[in-house]
């Protein structure tokens, strides 16, 4: 029966080292070990989810909800809303409404609780 001598072990180890070196060189030259080798892993770890929700308190109080913002017709809005102002527009069940972004900005204003076309909506962006 064949038995490994110390010299055989040494030769085997040498061969293994050479094989590892060759494979590494091939992988590196193919760019496989470069930074984008693990993109999926990185993306999954970074994906915002309920598990990694860690909000930061910026202002130590809730703002009161806005539920009664005044709404007027397009004709009444002449001089109150400028043509070039950006708006967030929405249409539900045939009813259209616009929210000028200049009036929907800042912590006290970022969410408007409204109802349009029988649907309760939150205007925010």
């Amino acid at each position: 029966m064949f038995r490994f001598s110390k010299r055989d072990w040494a030769q085997l180890l040498g061969l293994l080292l050479v094989a590892v070196a060759v494979v590494s060189v091939v992988l590196i030259s193919d760019g496989l070990l470069e930074e984008d080798f693990w993109p999926e892993t990185v993306a999954v770890a970074d994906e915002p989810s309920v598990e990694n929700f860690n909000p930061r308190v910026v202002i130590r109080r809730e703002f009161p909800p806005i539920t009664d913002a005044p709404v007027i017709s397009a004709r009444e809005a002449v001089g109150k809303v400028d043509n070039a102002e950006l708006v967030l527009g929405v249409q539900i069940n045939g009813q259209a409404r616009a929210y000028p972004l200049n009036m929907l900005t800042g912590p006290s204003r970022e969410i408007i609780n409204d109802t349009l076309g029988d649907t309760a909506i939150a205007a925010t962006w």
Partner: protein, 218 residues
């Protein structure tokens, strides 16, 4: 723009005073759950894991909106900013219109849409039409299936035409106004206009539309 009824309960939302990934965290008065503004999902509290339904809103200027929707109403409060006018998009590469469909997310950067204002695209198995109106920097997103037909759109003399039937469409309404498909309505999709950086943080696996350029040497 969200519908704020979850499991038949209408919620009243407000600003919580917290930020997450530099983005607003909302709180509802009824259950005190905390909601991510960009994901529209309850992240903590009794409603944890629930989603608000995203509505298809449109970011455009007042003149454009009013002309397209003559019967519109408008909310008017004292201004808290003056920054949001047409010049806001002076650096279009900073903005995207993004869409989430189940787990897949894609964003169309506004600078790319400026170069190519009409895109026949696909996200997961949903064929999409993206139309960008440069004058008002408005992006429109529709499902481009009509019945059991998937349409491919092209621009001819500034008009939006489908290749299958040569019907003429209004991109602003997603409705055929002339031709065999007249009065057919495409389903509008709830795209979100967002800062590119914020979109990337909340949708790290999102793909991005890039205008194809001819390869060098061809």
């Amino acid at each position: 723009m969200y519908a704020r009824t979850v499991d038949q309960r209408t919620l009243t939302l407000s600003v919580s005073g917290m930020l997450w990934n530099r983005s607003l965290v909302m709180i509802d008065r009824e259950t005190k759950s905390l909601w991510s503004h960009l994901l529209g999902r309850a992240m903590r509290g009794p409603l944890k894991g629930k989603d608000l339904q995203l509505l298809s809103g449109q970011m455009t200027d007042w003149k454009t909106w009013r002309e397209r929707h003559p019967g519109t109403t408008v909310m008017v409060l004292k201004r808290t900013s003056k920054a949001f006018n047409r010049e806001f998009y002076a650096n279009p590469q900073r903005f995207v219109i993004g869409l989430v469909d189940g787990v897949a997310a894609r964003a169309w950067p506004l600078d790319q849409l400026r170069k190519q204002p009409l895109v026949n695209d696909q996200l997961d198995d949903v064929p999409l039409l993206v139309w960008f109106e440069e004058e008002s920097s408005t992006a429109y997103l529709f499902d481009r299936r009509a019945g059991d037909r998937t349409l491919r759109f092209e621009r001819q003399d500034g008009k939006l035409i489908d290749r299958e039937t040569a019907s003429v469409w209004s991109a602003q309404h997603g409705r055929a106004i002339k031709g065999p498909l007249k009065n057919t309505q495409l389903e509008p999709l709830p795209g979100i206009v967002s800062f590119r950086k914020a979109w990337k943080v909340f949708h790290p696996k999102s793909t991005y539309f890039v205008v194809a350029t001819p390869q060098e040497g061809y």
